[in-house]
């Protein structure tokens, strides 16, 4: 059994604003092996980005608070590390690709310098300037940009190219884990496909683990080995891609998600979205957080939070699987 690269246990994050306390992430747990890709799926507001930022401890200083949990990176708890130690990890061991390439790059610094910055920060081997420049060229070529363009500014690049630059920055120091927060959401579909293909290729070439945060199940199917489905700050179902995409048992939310995808083969008059909206993170419902929208809602769902039921690697957090089928173990 290979050692886990990343293990998140019972992570709880809140935002304390002047107006109220927002429960963004509520006791989630997941893990990741080396060279594995985990997809975190959920609607906007499910807490995916917050979870990702918590790993690198990039939450807004004043308002974001990690109340509980452990984030074990190669066995060491990141939450116990000092600021300096975290800085050494950011960019070098774990790097992040943010959602909007338009605003992720500093408009007044050349892209070459922005890539080089990553290298300069983690320059343990004391490489010379020429060596760093060569590495910048190498990275730009890797992501499909002419290396002569490194003296240009972000505004001279299109959205897709900018995201490639961001990817180049994230790969600069050969991190073991890349957290990609909806890397293609802000791009149009054709560019999306290109960037995704490039990311998959690079990932395989460099054996990097990845956490792919997305709301697009298509991307999950293309790129991920494992999937975790988040709803209202909790993981309601997780498992291998196979478990989630072709298994028989699912959380009702997952069923709804898949049901709302248009099918090329079946002819329908209307799409079937999930009724209702995600709950207000300031005012969560009692019991199971999905119960107001669930078609299979039972009495117990309104009052008691469901426990996790597991079958191999497949975990479903739903009362439907409480007294279940013999092969299901319960926590």
């Amino acid at each position: 059994m290979s050692e886990k690269l990343l293990e998140v246990k019972d992570l709880r994050v809140v935002y304390n604003s002047n107006e109220a306390v927002v429960h963004a992430v509520n006791d989630i747990s997941f893990d990741l092996l080396p060279s594995e890709t985990l997809g975190i799926v959920g609607e906007t507001g499910a807490g995916k980005t917050t979870a990702a930022m918590a790993i690198l401890q990039l939450l807004p200083e004043r308002t974001g608070r990690i109340l509980n949990g452990q984030i074990l990176y190669k066995g060491e708890d990141l939450l116990k590390k000092t600021t300096n130690e975290m800085r050494k990890i950011r960019g070098a061991c774990i790097s992040m690709i943010f959602q909007d390439p338009m605003t992720s790059l500093n408009p007044t610094i050349t892209i070459g310098d922005q890539i080089k910055e990553s290298l300069e920060i983690h320059n343990h081997k004391n490489r010379s300037k020429t060596e760093l420049d060569a590495r910048v060229d190498e990275l730009l070529t890797l992501v499909g940009i002419q290396s002569s363009r490194k003296y240009e500014y972000p505004h001279q690049f299109s959205g897709g190219m900018k995201q490639r630059v961001v990817i180049a920055i994230s790969l600069a120091c050969n991190p073991e884990l890349i957290i990609a927060d909806e890397p293609t959401t802000a791009l149009d579909v054709t560019i999306q496909a290109q960037v995704l293909a490039m990311m998959t290729e690079l990932k395989e070439k460099l054996n990097t683990s990845m956490i792919m945060i997305t709301h697009d199940l298509g991307i999950v199917a293309q790129t991920c080995d494992k999937v975790a489905i988040m709803y209202a700050g909790e993981i309601v179902e997780k498992g291998t891609v196979r478990d989630i995409f072709s298994g028989d048992h699912h959380h009702p939310y997952t069923v709804g998600l898949f049901g709302s995808i248009p099918d090329l083969e079946v002819e329908t008059k209307r799409l079937t979205p999930i009724d209702g909206l995600m709950p207000d993170p300031v005012n969560m419902p009692e019991g199971c957080k999905f119960h107001p929208r669930c078609k299979s809602c039972m009495e117990i769902c309104r009052t008691q939070s469901p426990k996790a039921s597991r079958f191999g690697e497949h975990v479903i957090v739903c009362h439907l699987y409480d007294q279940e089928v013999c092969s299901w173990n319960h926590y």
């Binding site: 604003s17 002047n18 807004p60 004043r62 308002t63 979205p273």
Partner: protein
């Protein structure tokens, strides 16, 4: 027209979510801000002086000269002392509120009304009209404010009305700039484009979308400007181009007292502190309003 069903929101609903719309929430947030409330209270005190000056202290006391008691310090009879002609300074300050604060408020209100009209024409019609108007405004702005106001007062003569006119004319270009950029931000925003694409008539767009959103900025700007105008009016009076004696004005009181301030500093200190207090209360209110309208900037 294509009917977009489902989650597409109506422009009105989207607009209600925009935080620069003044509503009950704004007032609630304003109330929570202690310094803003203090500013409001102090400002209201000044307004009381403005309206009820005669009831607080009779006008006679402010202009009655009594050379025997000139330049006296603070006493129980004369709370702020007396000036070089023996007039009660406290009375003069209270009555000066009528001129100074009035001038500040009116100059800003009139200036903003004209500024809004011009900015609206420029912003909504765009093109050549916009460029022409903005060029004229930028040209006028090349003349330093004080200089322009001085020249206008010199041309028209002193006195309250002309001072007001000078302040208004010199400040209109500034308002036009600010309001126009505020209007353009709204005009170019997505929800106006959405409204237009639904076939909403221009008149409706202006009334329901542009005005409510631009008004927030305008009100904050107005509040802060009143303080600035009071100071400029005082400056003009100080150089002798503003309100003429015996009418009391905070700035001209400073001009009168400056030659004697070594021996009687109270002649200069009290009017100055009054200007500061008035301006401060306005700025606190303006800041509070800005934070209440757009709380995102705080956290």
């Amino acid at each position: 027209m294509l009917k977009i069903s489902g989650s597409a929101e109506k422009p009105e609903d989207m607009q209600k979510k925009r935080s620069s719309f003044i509503n009950a929430d704004t007032w609630r947030r304003f109330k929570k801000n202690k310094s803003a409330v203090i500013g409001l209270v102090i400002f209201l005190l000044f307004i009381v002086c403005l309206i009820f000056a005669d009831l607080i202290v009779p006008y006679q006391k402010a202009i009655e000269q009594n050379l025997r008691i000139r330049m006296q310090g603070i006493s129980s009879e004369h709370w702020f002392g007396t000036d070089i002609y023996g007039r009660d300074i406290f009375a003069r300050i209270v009555h000066a509120t009528r001129y100074s604060l009035f001038m500040g408020i009116v100059s800003v209100v009139v200036g903003i009304v004209f500024g809004s009209i011009i900015a609206a024409i420029a912003g909504l019609y765009g093109g050549k009209i916009d460029r022409c108007i903005m060029w004229i405004m930028d040209t006028v702005l090349c003349i330093p404010f004080m200089l322009l106001a001085l020249a206008i007062v010199a041309a028209l003569g002193g006195g309250l009305q002309n001072l007001l006119l000078a302040l208004v004319i010199a400040s209109v270009p500034i308002y036009v700039r600010v309001i126009r950029s505020s209007i353009l931000t709204v005009v170019e925003s997505d929800f106006v484009e959405a409204a237009r694409s639904c076939g909403t008539p221009d008149r409706y767009i202006v009334l329901k979308h542009i005005l409510p959103n631009a008004i927030g900025t305008v009100i904050v700007q107005a509040t802060m400007s009143v303080g600035t105008m009071i100071i400029w009016a005082a400056a003009l009076s100080y150089v002798g181009m503003g309100i003429q004696p015996p009418k009391p004005e905070w700035g001209s009181m400073l001009a009168e007292g400056k030659d004697y301030m070594l021996n009687a500093p109270h002649l200069v200190i009290f009017p100055g502190m009054t200007i500061i207090l008035c301006c401060l209360s306005l700025n606190l209110m303006g800041d509070g309003l800005r934070d209440a309208l757009d709380p995102r900037l705080k956290d």
